[in-house]
């Protein structure tokens, strides 16, 4: 590492201005791939640069992650390098605060900690205690047993876990999760997805915390001592004809005898189930050089395989980490807590005491305010982290606001939540959706119409606010995913889905924020049948 740093610096010359400060660092314009930050040669943080807005010169200012801040006191050499090839981008000595010791970012007992590009603390297996590893393996064995005994599925340790087991009989040091897979009893992706729903429910019924990520993949969270849960990923594998599909990276002609009957492999001193021909499966997953360790390995998934998985199983967690991080304060963006101009515009239009459903409530700023004004409010959002915080605020203030999850990319959660709301809240209801539609892709918008149809058909109105196509060229305070919607098109979609627009207001000056004055559209919609 040191030689690499020295040789690079010799070749490029000194950095013209400091790029490291107590608050963050400045990435040069050309950096756009995952980037690692090292303190005294030890990796502490990985950055996804594209998430940060470039300034006029193209440089990106990136604040230190919240979880790293408490450790930033003292001196260190900050090295910034590309993750995939370890090319040093710059290196600077920096003194944080008034400390005179070397900066250390460690867990209990000096255990190595790394903040991943999502802003979460990860502890690679190589640095986890024996107890933690044992706990994780106990859970993995329990899941394998449930899959086998209760779901009737042949399941094995897979991907990185299988690779570590076959190579060395252990977890791969830089890995930080456990992978399991099962062979589906179905060949049609629809049936594979239904089976995965059943698997998720069965695991939950046994008290495990499960998140169904797609129709062929779920993740079980195992709590750990450092706060960030360690995942055990469960993947479906299935045959279509003679092609084996391993979620979501492999589609290869592999005989069934390569999988069944299952054999065993030694993994961390335990005998674990493994595919019949581990070498054949690992070659299909990682290529012919799978025996040679490669920490920078990246899947080169064939386009046809990627398209199949995306089409078959639908990614329903689109950008959820972004929202978790935004509302968790990890992106350095201040989210206002006071009511929005749209909320203030809607309030006088509400019947006294009318129930409000705040769809896409974010940090609950408007939900809490409606509740303060005497409207029982249900805040619904995609991000569990923000819902937890909003619940606490409501409870502390004794407000009639409840919060629950909804994922508008998942048809099942959309219609189920709509059914619950329609049963529990008296009609007519008001659905309030501020700055929601332009954050959604088409399938999310289409599910939003379904939600409105189910909650408003017995009366009530929806108030919708979104960025228009005219806003695209206007200045924005923060970068981030957003679409710019043509109000005419949205009105047409609403009509086609069974709703009627009864009021429409658009233009700038309606929702100013810091130095931004977006062009927006406000619609009042009914959906009565």
């Amino acid at each position: 590492m040191t030689d690499l740093v020295s040789s690079h610096l010799a070749a490029t010359g000194p950095t013209p201005r400091p790029r490291v400060s107590d608050e963050g660092l400045t990435l040069p314009a050309e950096v756009d791939a995952t980037t690692d930050v090292l303190f005294d040669g030890r990796r502490v943080w990985s950055i996804a640069p594209f998430e940060f807005r470039p300034d006029s010169s193209g440089d990106r200012w990136v604040p230190w992650p919240r979880l790293l801040m408490p450790s930033l006191d003292g001196i260190t050499t900050v090295t910034v390098m590309e993750h995939h090839n370890e090319r040093v981008i710059f290196e600077e000595d920096h003194a944080f605060g008034a400390g005179t010791q070397r900066v250390r970012f460690e867990g209990p007992g000096g255990a190595l900690r790394v903040i991943d590009k999502w802003g979460f603390i990860q502890r690679p297996f190589a640095h986890q205690s024996r107890e933690i590893r044992d706990d994780l393996l106990n859970r993995a064995e329990l899941i394998l047993e449930i899959l086998r005994e209760e779901c009737g599925l042949s399941a094995w340790i897979a991907f990185g876990s299988l690779l570590g087991a076959v190579r060395d009989g252990t977890m791969i040091g830089h890995d930080s999760d456990v992978d399991l897979a099962y062979l589906s009893s179905h060949e049609h992706p629809t049936d594979v997805a239904r089976e995965m729903f059943h698997v998720s429910r069965t695991l939950q019924a046994r008290g495990l915390s499960v998140s169904t990520r797609t129709g062929s993949f779920c993740a079980v969270s195992v709590p750990s001592e450092h706060g960030q849960a360690t995942p055990i990923d469960v993947y479906a594998c299935f045959y279509v004809g003679d092609t084996l599909y391993e979620t979501a990276s492999v589609g290869a002609p592999l005989p069934r005898e390569a999988i069944l009957p299952l054999g065993t492999v030694q993994f961390e001193g335990r005998t674990m189930p493994a595919p019949a021909d581990t070498d054949a499966l690992l070659e299909a997953s990682y290529g012919p050089s799978w025996r040679v360790p490669d920490p920078a390995f990246a899947y080169d998934i064939p386009r046809a395989v990627k398209r199949r998985f995306n089409g078959w199983f639908i990614q329903s967690m689109k950008r959820r980490r972004y929202w978790d991080r935004l509302y968790g304060g990890m992106l350095g963006i201040d989210i206002p807590a006071e009511p929005s101009p749209f909320g203030a515009w809607v309030l006088p239009q509400l019947e006294p005491g009318a129930a409000v459903i705040d769809l896409g409530c974010g940090n609950g700023r408007d939900s809490l305010w409606f509740a303060e004004q005497g409207h029982p409010t249900t805040g619904l959002d995609f991000s569990p982290a923000t819902l937890g915080r909003a619940r606490k605020k409501a409870a502390a203030a004794g407000l009639p606001a409840t919060f629950a999850s909804v994922n508008l990319y998942d048809y099942r959660t959309t219609v189920t939540r709509a059914a619950i709301v329609a049963r529990e809240l008296p009609a007519p209801r008001t659905v309030y959706a501020r700055f929601l539609l332009h954050q959604l892709e088409r399938d999310g918008i289409s599910n939003t119409w379904r939600f409105l149809d189910m909650t408003l058909r017995r009366g009530g109105r929806a108030f919708l606010e979104f960025r228009t196509h005219r806003d695209k060229e206007r200045p924005h305070t923060y970068a981030g995913y957003r679409r710019f919607l043509d109000p005419d098109e949205i009105c047409r979609e609403i009509k086609a889905a069974g709703g009627s627009v009864v009021d429409r207001l658009e233009g700038s000056g309606l929702a100013p924020y810091q130095d931004e004055d977006p062009d927006i559209c406000r619609l009042t919609v009914v959906w009565q049948r």
Partner: protein
């Protein structure tokens, strides 16, 4: 002199013929380029259509899950069970 003029005439004829052939080839190239563009656009369109069809499979899976887990108990008109199921089903997603 006469033979020079004849040669020049023949050369002009050959040049004209070549020119015509080039024009013809250019026209054919143009046509082929347009056809290729049309085919590329068609492939893109077909790929989108295939993805739309693939997504249908997932929607069928989601709908049949809802029918199996929620609507069958509704059909049984078991109100207590339905309320309980709505809660547990939502929590399980």
């Amino acid at each position: 002199m006469l033979s020079v003029m004849r040669s020049a005439g023949r050369l002009r004829e050959r040049l004209d013929a070549l020119q015509n052939r080039d024009d013809e080839q250019m026209r054919r190239m143009d046509k082929m380029t347009k056809q290729l563009d049309r085919l590329a656009a068609r492939i893109e369109e077909l790929e989108e259509e295939i993805q739309e069809e693939r997504a249908l499979g997932m929607r069928v899976a989601q709908l049949s899950d809802i029918v199996q887990e929620l609507l069958i108990p509704v059909a049984d008109r078991d109100e207590k069970r339905l309320k309980e199921l709505l809660g547990t089903y939502a929590d399980s997603l």
